[in-house]
Amino acid sequence: MVLIVNTTSDKELSKEFREILEERNTEYEMIEAAEMNISPCLGCNFCWLKTPGTCAIKDDYEDILVRAHKADQLWVITNTALGFMDHKGKNIFDRVMPLVTMNLEFRGNQMRHVMRYDKNPDIGLIYLGEVDRDYLNKWNERCAVNFGSKPLGAYPFWELKEAAACM
């Protein structure tokens, strides 16, 4: 199953994306998160040390985390700001920390946190606005390694069909 979290208010984009995915018979869930109550990660580390696997913040992200855990792929549709994804998009990734444990290991030649679960969703981005796509792809690659999964790439909104082809 593919989980798509739309953090923008662009419902037309979601509608267009749904049509493409249904045409391709892709099994997906889409969450419209722009108006949801999703706090930023506060870095308390409770999800590692006090209540392992459970975020201390009780808000609308809880449902996203449960679905992300079950999904094969997690795609975030995000606005951009200051040359990167905006805070709403970034919050979705910062809050994924309960899927990670405090324990460390070497994956390749770099330290990484040991993942909490055996299966972790591959990660992709769809963005609105003008940014350095190469940088977003680089970020996506590193982010996916952190989460023990594969990067699916960063796609501008006019490449929805190309993104859907990876799903």
Binding site: G53, A81, L82, K90, F93, N103
Partner: protein
């Protein structure tokens, strides 16, 4: 020299590793009479004053922890409220993180240079260093010892007004650990480090193993309860 310092950590100041680093850095920086103002992004009530300070000053230092390879979401939210400048203001950064290798912070460092230009400012470099995760759990003496290097970097910033020197580059430490060090650390991760983490978690009142599979276990628990209820 007067510098505006933003603590970009979303963690409350009392437990902020970045705050401890800033304190040590500022000691060195102020030794010869420099001054600074500190604004904590974790406190939204300070955002108005922080924006005003950004607008009115030409020397800005942003200290931040790396969150998922880049700027924390809360700091991003604050930055989005700033109006890019047209006059010559310099922004320098202290980027810190938990992982010890310098290479872990380079993706974030690359963005900080882009960010500076997006804000219409001049880039004053980034002081990069990891291995700071444990600071919040240390006592005052240990923190002073662990952050002593930042005090020296404060003096360098007083001298150069940027982080481009060889001393700053060396301060990062190894980019990647050598294979023998990785093998040794891997053993420590499975033994001493794990035990330290368990001990910290117990102090915080944790009653579950650190690798507890909450979503799978709780789902199973929920299903079991449903089956029992049906049986009744």
């Amino acid at each position: 020299m007067h510098v505006i310092i933003f603590n970009g950590s979303p963690r409350v100041q009392k437990f902020s590793n970045t705050d401890k680093i800033i304190s040590s850095f500022a000691e060195g920086f102020c030794e010869r009479g420099n001054t600074y103002e500190l604004y904590s992004i974790s406190n939204r009530r300070e955002w108005g004053d922080a924006r005003r300070a950004f607008n009115e000053n030409k020397n800005i230092l942003i200290a931040l922890p790396l969150f998922v390879e880049c700027v924390p979401g809360l700091m991003m939210e604050f930055l989005e409220t700033l109006v890019p400048k047209t006059e010559s203001t310099q922004i320098s950064y202290i980027l810190q993180g938990g992982f010890a290798e310098g290479s872990q912070l380079r993706c974030g460092e690359e963005y900080l240079e882009k960010l500076t230009h997006e804000l219409g400012c001049k880039y004053g470099g980034t002081l990069v260093k990891g291995n700071n995760f444990m600071l919040r759990f240390m006592d005052e003496m240990q923190v002073e010892k662990e952050t002593d290097g930042y005090r020296e970097m404060g003096k360098i910033f007083d001298r150069d007004c940027n982080f481009f020197s060889e001393e700053c580059r060396r301060f990062t430490g190894p980019e990647i650990y050598s294979l023998p060090v990785r093998i040794m650390l891997d053993i420590l991760f499975k033994t001493a480090f794990k035990n330290t983490a368990i001990s910290l978690s117990k102090k915080l009142g944790c009653t579950k193993p650190l690798d507890y599979k909450t979503l799978e276990t709780d789902e199973q628990w929920s299903e079991d309860v449903t089956v029992q209820q049906r049986a009744v």
